[in-house]
Symmetry: C2
Subunit: 321 residues, 2 copies
Protein backbone atom coordinates (compact mmCIF):
# COMPACT_ATOMS: atom_id res chain seq x y z
CA UNK A 1 0.00 0.00 0.00
CA UNK A 2 1.21 3.47 -0.89
CA UNK A 3 0.54 4.96 2.59
CA UNK A 4 2.59 2.22 4.26
CA UNK A 5 5.56 3.05 2.07
CA UNK A 6 5.16 6.76 2.78
CA UNK A 7 4.96 6.27 6.55
CA UNK A 8 7.95 3.92 6.55
CA UNK A 9 10.07 6.35 4.56
CA UNK A 10 9.07 9.30 6.75
CA UNK A 11 9.76 7.32 9.94
CA UNK A 12 13.21 6.41 8.66
CA UNK A 13 14.01 10.07 8.08
CA UNK A 14 12.89 10.93 11.60
CA UNK A 15 14.87 8.00 13.02
CA UNK A 16 18.03 9.44 11.49
CA UNK A 17 17.50 12.83 13.12
CA UNK A 18 16.49 11.32 16.48
CA UNK A 19 19.60 9.17 16.40
CA UNK A 20 21.76 12.24 15.71
CA UNK A 21 20.04 14.12 18.54
CA UNK A 22 19.89 11.36 21.18
CA UNK A 23 22.31 8.66 20.03
CA UNK A 24 25.49 9.71 21.78
CA UNK A 25 24.62 11.83 24.80
CA UNK A 26 26.94 11.42 27.79
CA UNK A 27 25.91 10.25 31.26
CA UNK A 28 23.56 7.67 32.73
CA UNK A 29 20.48 9.89 32.88
CA UNK A 30 20.79 10.95 29.24
CA UNK A 31 21.19 7.34 28.18
CA UNK A 32 18.10 6.38 30.17
CA UNK A 33 16.21 9.27 28.52
CA UNK A 34 17.28 8.22 25.03
CA UNK A 35 16.60 4.51 25.60
CA UNK A 36 12.97 4.29 24.41
CA UNK A 37 13.40 6.98 21.76
CA UNK A 38 16.13 4.94 20.09
CA UNK A 39 14.09 1.72 20.36
CA UNK A 40 12.03 2.72 17.34
CA UNK A 41 8.35 3.37 16.86
CA UNK A 42 6.00 4.47 14.08
CA UNK A 43 6.89 8.18 14.58
CA UNK A 44 3.30 9.09 13.67
CA UNK A 45 3.19 12.29 15.72
CA UNK A 46 6.26 13.95 14.14
CA UNK A 47 5.03 12.81 10.72
CA UNK A 48 1.72 14.58 11.43
CA UNK A 49 3.56 17.77 12.54
CA UNK A 50 5.46 17.84 9.24
CA UNK A 51 2.42 17.04 7.09
CA UNK A 52 0.41 19.78 8.79
CA UNK A 53 3.21 22.30 8.23
CA UNK A 54 3.52 21.39 4.55
CA UNK A 55 -0.26 21.44 4.17
CA UNK A 56 -0.25 25.12 5.18
CA UNK A 57 2.94 26.12 3.40
CA UNK A 58 4.69 23.57 1.22
CA UNK A 59 8.35 23.19 2.16
CA UNK A 60 8.21 24.42 5.76
CA UNK A 61 8.44 20.95 7.33
CA UNK A 62 12.24 20.90 7.14
CA UNK A 63 12.63 24.25 8.93
CA UNK A 64 10.38 23.17 11.78
CA UNK A 65 11.86 19.67 12.10
CA UNK A 66 12.95 20.14 15.76
CA UNK A 67 9.31 20.80 16.69
CA UNK A 68 8.33 17.54 14.98
CA UNK A 69 10.87 15.73 17.15
CA UNK A 70 9.40 17.54 20.19
CA UNK A 71 6.14 15.67 19.71
CA UNK A 72 7.87 12.27 19.60
CA UNK A 73 9.89 13.23 22.68
CA UNK A 74 6.71 14.27 24.50
CA UNK A 75 5.04 10.99 23.56
CA UNK A 76 8.08 9.08 24.84
CA UNK A 77 8.14 10.98 28.15
CA UNK A 78 4.55 9.89 28.78
CA UNK A 79 5.42 6.27 27.93
CA UNK A 80 8.36 6.27 30.39
CA UNK A 81 6.15 7.57 33.21
CA UNK A 82 3.13 5.42 32.26
CA UNK A 83 5.29 2.28 32.28
CA UNK A 84 6.20 2.98 35.92
CA UNK A 85 2.54 3.42 36.88
CA UNK A 86 1.37 0.39 34.92
CA UNK A 87 4.32 -1.76 36.06
CA UNK A 88 5.12 -2.73 32.45
CA UNK A 89 8.47 -4.44 31.96
CA UNK A 90 8.91 -4.30 28.17
CA UNK A 91 8.01 -1.95 25.31
CA UNK A 92 9.13 -1.80 21.67
CA UNK A 93 11.04 -5.01 22.27
CA UNK A 94 13.31 -3.55 24.97
CA UNK A 95 13.06 -3.39 28.78
CA UNK A 96 11.22 -0.32 30.07
CA UNK A 97 13.38 2.42 31.62
CA UNK A 98 12.46 1.67 35.25
CA UNK A 99 13.22 -2.02 34.59
CA UNK A 100 16.60 -1.46 32.93
CA UNK A 101 17.65 1.23 35.42
CA UNK A 102 15.50 2.02 38.48
CA UNK A 103 12.35 3.93 39.27
CA UNK A 104 13.96 7.23 40.34
CA UNK A 105 16.02 7.19 37.14
CA UNK A 106 12.87 6.55 35.10
CA UNK A 107 10.96 9.43 36.74
CA UNK A 108 13.93 11.72 36.05
CA UNK A 109 14.47 10.37 32.50
CA UNK A 110 10.87 11.25 31.69
CA UNK A 111 11.32 14.69 33.25
CA UNK A 112 14.46 15.31 31.14
CA UNK A 113 12.59 14.39 27.95
CA UNK A 114 9.81 16.76 29.00
CA UNK A 115 12.36 19.59 29.15
CA UNK A 116 13.87 18.63 25.78
CA UNK A 117 10.46 18.78 24.14
CA UNK A 118 10.11 22.46 25.00
CA UNK A 119 13.71 23.18 24.03
CA UNK A 120 13.05 21.58 20.64
CA UNK A 121 9.97 23.74 20.03
CA UNK A 122 12.12 26.81 20.65
CA UNK A 123 14.75 25.47 18.21
CA UNK A 124 12.32 25.41 15.27
CA UNK A 125 12.85 28.00 12.55
CA UNK A 126 9.64 29.97 12.83
CA UNK A 127 8.37 33.30 14.14
CA UNK A 128 8.62 33.91 17.88
CA UNK A 129 4.85 34.34 18.11
CA UNK A 130 4.33 30.95 16.46
CA UNK A 131 6.79 29.37 18.87
CA UNK A 132 5.11 30.89 21.93
CA UNK A 133 1.75 29.63 20.66
CA UNK A 134 3.25 26.18 20.05
CA UNK A 135 4.69 26.05 23.56
CA UNK A 136 1.21 26.87 24.91
CA UNK A 137 -0.41 24.21 22.75
CA UNK A 138 2.12 21.59 23.84
CA UNK A 139 1.86 22.52 27.52
CA UNK A 140 -1.94 22.35 27.34
CA UNK A 141 -1.71 18.95 25.69
CA UNK A 142 0.65 17.68 28.40
CA UNK A 143 -1.71 18.74 31.18
CA UNK A 144 -4.55 16.93 29.38
CA UNK A 145 -2.44 13.82 28.77
CA UNK A 146 -1.80 13.56 32.50
CA UNK A 147 -5.49 13.90 33.27
CA UNK A 148 -6.33 11.25 30.68
CA UNK A 149 -3.82 8.81 32.14
CA UNK A 150 -5.08 9.57 35.66
CA UNK A 151 -8.66 8.86 34.60
CA UNK A 152 -7.63 5.67 32.78
CA UNK A 153 -5.86 4.31 35.87
CA UNK A 154 -8.64 5.28 38.23
CA UNK A 155 -11.50 3.93 36.10
CA UNK A 156 -10.05 0.59 37.24
CA UNK A 157 -12.83 -1.97 37.35
CA UNK A 158 -15.48 0.68 38.03
CA UNK A 159 -18.49 -0.85 36.31
CA UNK A 160 -20.43 2.33 35.68
CA UNK A 161 -18.08 4.26 33.40
CA UNK A 162 -20.21 5.93 30.72
CA UNK A 163 -19.44 6.22 27.02
CA UNK A 164 -19.09 9.98 27.54
CA UNK A 165 -16.49 9.46 30.28
CA UNK A 166 -14.62 7.00 28.07
CA UNK A 167 -14.53 9.43 25.14
CA UNK A 168 -13.28 12.22 27.42
CA UNK A 169 -10.55 9.92 28.73
CA UNK A 170 -9.30 8.79 25.31
CA UNK A 171 -9.59 12.33 23.95
CA UNK A 172 -7.13 13.39 26.62
CA UNK A 173 -4.98 10.28 26.71
CA UNK A 174 -4.53 9.90 22.96
CA UNK A 175 -6.48 12.55 21.07
CA UNK A 176 -4.87 15.72 22.36
CA UNK A 177 -1.31 14.78 21.38
CA UNK A 178 -2.33 14.10 17.76
CA UNK A 179 -4.35 17.32 17.95
CA UNK A 180 -1.31 19.22 19.27
CA UNK A 181 0.91 17.64 16.60
CA UNK A 182 -1.28 18.86 13.77
CA UNK A 183 -1.95 22.25 15.38
CA UNK A 184 1.72 22.93 16.11
CA UNK A 185 2.70 22.03 12.55
CA UNK A 186 0.04 24.40 11.27
CA UNK A 187 0.97 27.14 13.74
CA UNK A 188 4.68 27.10 12.96
CA UNK A 189 3.85 27.29 9.23
CA UNK A 190 1.83 30.45 10.01
CA UNK A 191 -1.62 28.96 9.40
CA UNK A 192 -4.66 31.08 10.29
CA UNK A 193 -6.50 30.48 13.57
CA UNK A 194 -9.26 28.72 11.63
CA UNK A 195 -6.79 26.45 9.83
CA UNK A 196 -5.02 25.60 13.08
CA UNK A 197 -8.37 24.81 14.75
CA UNK A 198 -9.31 22.49 11.90
CA UNK A 199 -5.97 20.69 12.15
CA UNK A 200 -6.49 20.38 15.90
CA UNK A 201 -9.92 18.81 15.35
CA UNK A 202 -8.47 16.46 12.70
CA UNK A 203 -5.93 15.24 15.25
CA UNK A 204 -8.38 14.99 18.13
CA UNK A 205 -10.87 12.87 16.19
CA UNK A 206 -8.16 10.77 14.54
CA UNK A 207 -6.62 10.12 17.95
CA UNK A 208 -9.93 9.06 19.49
CA UNK A 209 -10.46 6.66 16.58
CA UNK A 210 -6.88 5.39 17.02
CA UNK A 211 -7.51 4.53 20.67
CA UNK A 212 -10.85 2.81 19.99
CA UNK A 213 -9.07 0.70 17.36
CA UNK A 214 -6.30 -0.04 19.89
CA UNK A 215 -8.91 -1.52 22.21
CA UNK A 216 -10.30 -3.66 19.36
CA UNK A 217 -6.80 -4.86 18.46
CA UNK A 218 -6.19 -5.86 22.08
CA UNK A 219 -9.31 -8.01 21.95
CA UNK A 220 -9.25 -9.40 18.41
CA UNK A 221 -5.62 -9.70 17.30
CA UNK A 222 -3.51 -12.70 18.19
CA UNK A 223 -0.32 -12.04 20.14
CA UNK A 224 1.96 -12.76 17.18
CA UNK A 225 0.35 -9.90 15.22
CA UNK A 226 -0.11 -7.33 17.98
CA UNK A 227 3.05 -8.07 19.95
CA UNK A 228 0.95 -7.83 23.13
CA UNK A 229 -0.79 -10.25 25.44
CA UNK A 230 -4.05 -11.29 23.84
CA UNK A 231 -7.22 -9.83 25.38
CA UNK A 232 -5.42 -8.25 28.35
CA UNK A 233 -8.18 -5.61 28.64
CA UNK A 234 -10.81 -8.35 28.91
CA UNK A 235 -8.83 -10.20 31.58
CA UNK A 236 -8.25 -7.01 33.56
CA UNK A 237 -11.83 -5.82 33.23
CA UNK A 238 -10.70 -2.54 31.65
CA UNK A 239 -13.38 0.01 30.87
CA UNK A 240 -12.99 0.10 27.08
CA UNK A 241 -15.72 1.12 24.66
CA UNK A 242 -16.26 -2.61 24.01
CA UNK A 243 -16.87 -3.23 27.73
CA UNK A 244 -19.15 -0.21 28.06
CA UNK A 245 -21.34 -1.01 25.04
CA UNK A 246 -21.47 -4.69 26.07
CA UNK A 247 -22.74 -3.69 29.51
CA UNK A 248 -25.38 -1.47 27.94
CA UNK A 249 -26.62 -4.54 26.02
CA UNK A 250 -26.72 -6.62 29.20
CA UNK A 251 -23.72 -8.77 28.27
CA UNK A 252 -21.79 -9.91 31.32
CA UNK A 253 -18.03 -9.79 30.67
CA UNK A 254 -17.08 -10.03 34.35
CA UNK A 255 -16.72 -13.82 34.08
CA UNK A 256 -13.72 -13.23 31.80
CA UNK A 257 -12.08 -11.01 34.43
CA UNK A 258 -9.36 -13.38 35.61
CA UNK A 259 -5.58 -13.64 35.34
CA UNK A 260 -5.57 -16.23 32.54
CA UNK A 261 -8.00 -17.00 29.73
CA UNK A 262 -7.83 -19.91 27.29
CA UNK A 263 -8.01 -19.17 23.57
CA UNK A 264 -11.39 -20.90 23.59
CA UNK A 265 -12.70 -18.52 26.26
CA UNK A 266 -11.45 -15.49 24.35
CA UNK A 267 -13.02 -16.81 21.13
CA UNK A 268 -16.28 -17.33 23.01
CA UNK A 269 -16.24 -13.75 24.29
CA UNK A 270 -15.50 -12.39 20.81
CA UNK A 271 -18.32 -14.50 19.35
CA UNK A 272 -20.72 -13.14 21.97
CA UNK A 273 -19.66 -9.56 21.25
CA UNK A 274 -19.94 -10.05 17.49
CA UNK A 275 -23.34 -11.75 17.64
CA UNK A 276 -24.78 -9.02 19.82
CA UNK A 277 -23.51 -6.30 17.48
CA UNK A 278 -21.14 -4.76 20.05
CA UNK A 279 -18.07 -5.08 17.82
CA UNK A 280 -19.94 -3.56 14.89
CA UNK A 281 -21.16 -0.67 17.07
CA UNK A 282 -17.63 0.01 18.33
CA UNK A 283 -16.26 -0.02 14.77
CA UNK A 284 -19.05 2.32 13.71
CA UNK A 285 -18.17 4.82 16.41
CA UNK A 286 -14.50 4.72 15.46
CA UNK A 287 -15.45 5.32 11.83
CA UNK A 288 -17.65 8.28 12.82
CA UNK A 289 -14.60 9.96 14.37
CA UNK A 290 -12.59 9.22 11.23
CA UNK A 291 -15.32 10.85 9.14
CA UNK A 292 -15.34 13.88 11.45
CA UNK A 293 -11.55 14.09 11.11
CA UNK A 294 -11.74 14.00 7.32
CA UNK A 295 -14.50 16.63 7.19
CA UNK A 296 -12.34 19.13 9.07
CA UNK A 297 -9.92 19.06 6.13
CA UNK A 298 -12.60 20.08 3.59
CA UNK A 299 -11.57 23.72 3.78
CA UNK A 300 -8.06 22.97 2.49
CA UNK A 301 -7.39 22.81 -1.27
CA UNK A 302 -6.39 19.37 -2.55
CA UNK A 303 -2.74 18.49 -2.02
CA UNK A 304 -0.59 15.46 -1.39
CA UNK A 305 -0.42 16.35 2.32
CA UNK A 306 -4.20 16.61 2.62
CA UNK A 307 -4.57 13.24 0.91
CA UNK A 308 -2.07 11.59 3.27
CA UNK A 309 -3.72 13.10 6.37
CA UNK A 310 -7.05 11.68 5.15
CA UNK A 311 -5.44 8.29 4.58
CA UNK A 312 -3.79 8.37 8.02
CA UNK A 313 -7.16 8.86 9.69
CA UNK A 314 -8.50 5.81 7.81
CA UNK A 315 -5.36 3.84 8.57
CA UNK A 316 -5.84 4.46 12.30
CA UNK A 317 -8.98 2.28 12.23
CA UNK A 318 -7.90 -0.25 9.59
CA UNK A 319 -4.51 -1.19 11.06
CA UNK A 320 -4.22 -4.62 12.66
CA UNK A 321 -1.51 -3.71 15.17
CA UNK B 1 15.40 42.86 60.14
CA UNK B 2 14.39 44.81 57.07
CA UNK B 3 15.03 41.98 54.60
CA UNK B 4 12.86 39.60 56.60
CA UNK B 5 9.97 42.03 56.45
CA UNK B 6 10.47 42.55 52.73
CA UNK B 7 10.57 38.79 51.99
CA UNK B 8 7.51 38.14 54.14
CA UNK B 9 5.52 40.85 52.43
CA UNK B 10 6.55 39.69 48.96
CA UNK B 11 5.74 36.05 49.81
CA UNK B 12 2.28 37.10 51.02
CA UNK B 13 1.60 38.83 47.69
CA UNK B 14 2.67 35.72 45.80
CA UNK B 15 0.57 33.50 48.06
CA UNK B 16 -2.50 35.52 47.13
CA UNK B 17 -1.90 35.03 43.40
CA UNK B 18 -1.01 31.34 43.78
CA UNK B 19 -4.18 30.83 45.78
CA UNK B 20 -6.23 32.51 43.05
CA UNK B 21 -4.52 30.38 40.39
CA UNK B 22 -4.50 26.99 42.17
CA UNK B 23 -6.99 27.30 45.05
CA UNK B 24 -10.16 26.08 43.41
CA UNK B 25 -9.29 23.88 40.45
CA UNK B 26 -11.69 20.97 39.83
CA UNK B 27 -10.77 17.29 39.85
CA UNK B 28 -8.54 15.00 41.89
CA UNK B 29 -5.40 15.47 39.82
CA UNK B 30 -5.60 19.27 39.95
CA UNK B 31 -6.09 19.13 43.71
CA UNK B 32 -3.07 16.85 44.06
CA UNK B 33 -1.06 19.27 41.89
CA UNK B 34 -2.09 22.27 43.97
CA UNK B 35 -1.54 20.52 47.33
CA UNK B 36 2.11 21.48 48.00
CA UNK B 37 1.82 24.86 46.28
CA UNK B 38 -0.94 25.87 48.69
CA UNK B 39 1.00 24.54 51.71
CA UNK B 40 3.16 27.64 51.77
CA UNK B 41 6.87 28.21 51.36
CA UNK B 42 9.30 31.12 51.28
CA UNK B 43 8.53 31.84 47.58
CA UNK B 44 12.15 32.89 47.08
CA UNK B 45 12.32 31.97 43.40
CA UNK B 46 9.34 34.07 42.27
CA UNK B 47 10.60 36.91 44.47
CA UNK B 48 13.94 36.71 42.62
CA UNK B 49 12.19 36.73 39.22
CA UNK B 50 10.36 39.93 40.17
CA UNK B 51 13.42 41.62 41.68
CA UNK B 52 15.48 40.84 38.57
CA UNK B 53 12.77 42.24 36.30
CA UNK B 54 12.51 45.45 38.33
CA UNK B 55 16.29 45.71 38.48
CA UNK B 56 16.37 45.92 34.68
CA UNK B 57 13.26 48.03 34.24
CA UNK B 58 11.47 49.33 37.32
CA UNK B 59 7.78 48.42 37.28
CA UNK B 60 7.90 45.40 34.97
CA UNK B 61 7.51 42.82 37.75
CA UNK B 62 3.72 43.11 37.78
CA UNK B 63 3.41 42.49 34.02
CA UNK B 64 5.55 39.38 34.18
CA UNK B 65 3.96 38.00 37.37
CA UNK B 66 2.80 34.73 35.73
CA UNK B 67 6.44 33.93 34.89
CA UNK B 68 7.36 34.49 38.54
CA UNK B 69 4.73 31.92 39.51
CA UNK B 70 6.18 29.58 36.86
CA UNK B 71 9.40 29.34 38.86
CA UNK B 72 7.56 28.42 42.07
CA UNK B 73 5.51 25.87 40.15
CA UNK B 74 8.67 24.37 38.64
CA UNK B 75 10.26 24.18 42.09
CA UNK B 76 7.15 22.44 43.42
CA UNK B 77 7.06 19.92 40.57
CA UNK B 78 10.61 18.85 41.47
CA UNK B 79 9.64 18.55 45.16
CA UNK B 80 6.67 16.31 44.31
CA UNK B 81 8.84 13.98 42.24
CA UNK B 82 11.82 14.11 44.65
CA UNK B 83 9.56 13.16 47.56
CA UNK B 84 8.59 9.96 45.72
CA UNK B 85 12.23 9.06 45.07
CA UNK B 86 13.34 9.92 48.60
CA UNK B 87 10.32 8.26 50.22
CA UNK B 88 9.56 11.40 52.26
CA UNK B 89 6.18 11.41 53.97
CA UNK B 90 5.82 15.06 55.03
CA UNK B 91 6.85 18.49 53.75
CA UNK B 92 5.83 22.02 54.72
CA UNK B 93 3.79 20.49 57.53
CA UNK B 94 1.52 18.47 55.24
CA UNK B 95 1.68 14.90 53.88
CA UNK B 96 3.59 14.60 50.59
CA UNK B 97 1.49 14.07 47.45
CA UNK B 98 2.31 10.37 47.03
CA UNK B 99 1.45 9.84 50.72
CA UNK B 100 -1.86 11.69 50.64
CA UNK B 101 -2.90 10.20 47.27
CA UNK B 102 -0.80 7.50 45.59
CA UNK B 103 2.40 7.28 43.60
CA UNK B 104 0.87 7.36 40.08
CA UNK B 105 -1.13 10.44 41.11
CA UNK B 106 2.06 12.08 42.43
CA UNK B 107 4.01 11.38 39.22
CA UNK B 108 1.14 12.86 37.21
CA UNK B 109 0.62 15.79 39.61
CA UNK B 110 4.28 16.74 39.12
CA UNK B 111 3.89 16.38 35.35
CA UNK B 112 0.82 18.65 35.37
CA UNK B 113 2.73 21.33 37.31
CA UNK B 114 5.57 21.02 34.78
CA UNK B 115 3.10 21.84 31.98
CA UNK B 116 1.61 24.75 33.94
CA UNK B 117 5.08 26.26 34.41
CA UNK B 118 5.51 26.62 30.64
CA UNK B 119 1.97 27.87 30.20
CA UNK B 120 2.65 30.55 32.82
CA UNK B 121 5.81 31.75 31.03
CA UNK B 122 3.74 32.19 27.88
CA UNK B 123 1.11 34.13 29.86
CA UNK B 124 3.59 36.84 30.91
CA UNK B 125 3.21 40.26 29.31
CA UNK B 126 6.48 40.52 27.42
CA UNK B 127 7.82 40.31 23.88
CA UNK B 128 7.50 36.97 22.11
CA UNK B 129 11.27 36.77 21.71
CA UNK B 130 11.74 37.24 25.46
CA UNK B 131 9.17 34.53 26.14
CA UNK B 132 10.85 32.07 23.75
CA UNK B 133 14.18 32.75 25.42
CA UNK B 134 12.61 32.29 28.85
CA UNK B 135 11.08 28.97 27.83
CA UNK B 136 14.55 27.85 26.69
CA UNK B 137 16.14 28.99 29.95
CA UNK B 138 13.50 27.20 32.02
CA UNK B 139 13.71 24.00 29.96
CA UNK B 140 17.51 23.99 30.27
CA UNK B 141 17.21 24.49 34.01
CA UNK B 142 14.75 21.59 34.31
CA UNK B 143 17.09 19.22 32.46
CA UNK B 144 19.91 20.26 34.81
CA UNK B 145 17.72 19.91 37.90
CA UNK B 146 16.98 16.31 36.94
CA UNK B 147 20.66 15.57 36.45
CA UNK B 148 21.49 17.16 39.82
CA UNK B 149 18.86 15.08 41.60
CA UNK B 150 20.06 11.94 39.79
CA UNK B 151 23.64 12.61 40.89
CA UNK B 152 22.54 13.35 44.46
CA UNK B 153 20.66 10.04 44.72
CA UNK B 154 23.43 8.03 43.10
CA UNK B 155 26.27 9.52 45.14
CA UNK B 156 24.70 7.43 47.90
CA UNK B 157 27.38 6.42 50.38
CA UNK B 158 30.10 6.53 47.70
CA UNK B 159 33.09 7.58 49.77
CA UNK B 160 35.15 9.14 46.99
CA UNK B 161 32.91 11.99 45.84
CA UNK B 162 35.15 14.99 45.16
CA UNK B 163 34.48 18.62 46.03
CA UNK B 164 34.24 19.32 42.30
CA UNK B 165 31.55 16.64 41.85
CA UNK B 166 29.68 18.01 44.86
CA UNK B 167 29.73 21.57 43.49
CA UNK B 168 28.51 20.35 40.08
CA UNK B 169 25.70 18.44 41.79
CA UNK B 170 24.48 21.37 43.92
CA UNK B 171 24.90 23.78 41.01
CA UNK B 172 22.42 21.66 39.10
CA UNK B 173 20.17 20.65 41.97
CA UNK B 174 19.80 24.10 43.52
CA UNK B 175 21.88 26.67 41.64
CA UNK B 176 20.32 26.52 38.19
CA UNK B 177 16.77 27.24 39.33
CA UNK B 178 17.85 30.42 41.15
CA UNK B 179 19.95 31.21 38.08
CA UNK B 180 16.96 30.67 35.80
CA UNK B 181 14.74 32.75 38.10
CA UNK B 182 17.04 35.76 37.89
CA UNK B 183 17.76 35.29 34.17
CA UNK B 184 14.10 34.92 33.23
CA UNK B 185 13.17 38.05 35.19
CA UNK B 186 15.94 39.93 33.40
CA UNK B 187 15.04 38.49 30.00
CA UNK B 188 11.34 39.33 30.21
CA UNK B 189 12.26 42.90 31.24
CA UNK B 190 14.35 43.12 28.05
CA UNK B 191 17.77 43.09 29.72
CA UNK B 192 20.85 42.84 27.48
CA UNK B 193 22.61 39.48 27.06
CA UNK B 194 25.35 40.68 29.41
CA UNK B 195 22.86 41.74 32.07
CA UNK B 196 20.99 38.45 31.81
CA UNK B 197 24.27 36.51 32.10
CA UNK B 198 25.20 38.43 35.22
CA UNK B 199 21.83 37.74 36.77
CA UNK B 200 22.24 34.07 35.89
CA UNK B 201 25.62 33.97 37.62
CA UNK B 202 24.16 35.79 40.65
CA UNK B 203 21.52 33.05 40.95
CA UNK B 204 23.90 30.18 40.32
CA UNK B 205 26.38 31.26 43.01
CA UNK B 206 23.65 32.24 45.45
CA UNK B 207 22.01 28.86 44.93
CA UNK B 208 25.24 26.96 45.54
CA UNK B 209 25.76 28.93 48.76
CA UNK B 210 22.14 28.22 49.73
CA UNK B 211 22.66 24.47 49.40
CA UNK B 212 25.95 24.46 51.33
CA UNK B 213 24.17 26.34 54.12
CA UNK B 214 21.33 23.80 53.96
CA UNK B 215 23.84 21.05 54.69
CA UNK B 216 25.22 23.03 57.64
CA UNK B 217 21.72 23.60 59.00
CA UNK B 218 21.00 19.87 58.78
CA UNK B 219 24.05 19.22 60.93
CA UNK B 220 24.02 22.13 63.37
CA UNK B 221 20.43 23.20 63.95
CA UNK B 222 18.21 21.47 66.47
CA UNK B 223 15.01 19.91 65.16
CA UNK B 224 12.77 22.54 66.73
CA UNK B 225 14.48 25.27 64.67
CA UNK B 226 14.96 23.44 61.37
CA UNK B 227 11.74 21.44 61.38
CA UNK B 228 13.76 18.46 60.17
CA UNK B 229 15.38 15.44 61.78
CA UNK B 230 18.66 16.54 63.35
CA UNK B 231 21.83 15.45 61.52
CA UNK B 232 20.00 13.20 59.04
CA UNK B 233 22.83 13.67 56.49
CA UNK B 234 25.38 12.47 59.06
CA UNK B 235 23.28 9.42 59.92
CA UNK B 236 22.74 8.57 56.25
CA UNK B 237 26.39 9.14 55.30
CA UNK B 238 25.37 11.72 52.69
CA UNK B 239 28.15 13.20 50.57
CA UNK B 240 27.83 16.82 51.68
CA UNK B 241 30.67 19.34 51.54
CA UNK B 242 31.10 18.76 55.29
CA UNK B 243 31.60 15.03 54.71
CA UNK B 244 33.98 15.60 51.79
CA UNK B 245 36.20 18.14 53.57
CA UNK B 246 36.19 15.99 56.72
CA UNK B 247 37.40 13.00 54.70
CA UNK B 248 40.17 15.13 53.16
CA UNK B 249 41.33 15.93 56.71
CA UNK B 250 41.30 12.25 57.66
CA UNK B 251 38.26 12.55 59.93
CA UNK B 252 36.23 9.36 60.01
CA UNK B 253 32.49 10.12 60.02
CA UNK B 254 31.45 6.58 59.07
CA UNK B 255 30.99 5.65 62.73
CA UNK B 256 28.08 8.10 62.83
CA UNK B 257 26.44 6.35 59.88
CA UNK B 258 23.62 4.56 61.68
CA UNK B 259 19.83 4.85 61.94
CA UNK B 260 19.83 6.65 65.29
CA UNK B 261 22.29 9.02 66.95
CA UNK B 262 22.08 10.41 70.48
CA UNK B 263 22.36 14.18 70.97
CA UNK B 264 25.70 13.50 72.67
CA UNK B 265 27.02 11.68 69.60
CA UNK B 266 25.90 14.50 67.31
CA UNK B 267 27.50 17.09 69.61
CA UNK B 268 30.70 15.04 69.58
CA UNK B 269 30.74 14.97 65.77
CA UNK B 270 30.11 18.72 65.58
CA UNK B 271 32.88 19.35 68.10
CA UNK B 272 35.27 17.22 66.03
CA UNK B 273 34.35 19.08 62.85
CA UNK B 274 34.69 22.48 64.51
CA UNK B 275 38.03 21.69 66.16
CA UNK B 276 39.52 20.45 62.88
CA UNK B 277 38.38 23.55 61.02
CA UNK B 278 35.99 21.69 58.69
CA UNK B 279 32.98 23.79 59.65
CA UNK B 280 34.97 27.00 59.18
CA UNK B 281 36.21 25.80 55.77
CA UNK B 282 32.68 24.94 54.65
CA UNK B 283 31.39 28.35 55.79
CA UNK B 284 34.29 30.02 53.95
CA UNK B 285 33.41 28.27 50.70
CA UNK B 286 29.76 29.24 51.04
CA UNK B 287 30.81 32.85 51.63
CA UNK B 288 33.07 32.78 48.56
CA UNK B 289 30.05 31.94 46.42
CA UNK B 290 28.09 34.74 48.08
CA UNK B 291 30.91 37.17 47.24
CA UNK B 292 30.96 35.94 43.63
CA UNK B 293 27.20 36.45 43.47
CA UNK B 294 27.48 40.00 44.78
CA UNK B 295 30.30 40.87 42.37
CA UNK B 296 28.18 39.96 39.35
CA UNK B 297 25.82 42.79 40.33
CA UNK B 298 28.60 45.45 40.22
CA UNK B 299 27.66 46.45 36.69
CA UNK B 300 24.17 47.54 37.74
CA UNK B 301 23.58 51.06 39.07
CA UNK B 302 22.51 51.22 42.70
CA UNK B 303 18.83 50.55 43.30
CA UNK B 304 16.57 49.06 45.93
CA UNK B 305 16.34 45.83 43.89
CA UNK B 306 20.12 45.50 43.65
CA UNK B 307 20.44 46.05 47.39
CA UNK B 308 17.83 43.37 48.14
CA UNK B 309 19.45 40.85 45.77
CA UNK B 310 22.77 41.45 47.57
CA UNK B 311 21.06 40.97 50.92
CA UNK B 312 19.33 37.79 49.73
CA UNK B 313 22.68 36.24 48.79
CA UNK B 314 23.97 37.03 52.30
CA UNK B 315 20.76 35.79 53.87
CA UNK B 316 21.18 32.42 52.11
CA UNK B 317 24.24 31.71 54.27
CA UNK B 318 23.13 33.45 57.47
CA UNK B 319 19.69 31.86 57.82
CA UNK B 320 19.24 29.27 60.55
CA UNK B 321 16.51 27.25 58.82
Amino acid sequence: MELDAYLEGAAEQIDIVLDREFGSLPGVLNKASAHLILAGGKRLRPIVVMLAADLIQKGTSQSILPAALALEVTHTFTLVHDDIMDGDVARRGVPTVHTKWDEPTAILAGDVLYAHAFELICAAMASDLAKVRSVSILAGACANLCDGQHKDIHFGNRDNVTEEEYIEMVSKKTGVLYAASAAIGGTLAEGTAQQVNSLYEWGLNSGIAFQIQDDLIDLMADSATSGKDRASDLREGKQTLVAILAREKGIDLTKYRKPALTDAEIDEAIHLLEESGVIADVRKKALEHVEQAKTTLDQFPDSQEKEILIQIASYFVSRGY
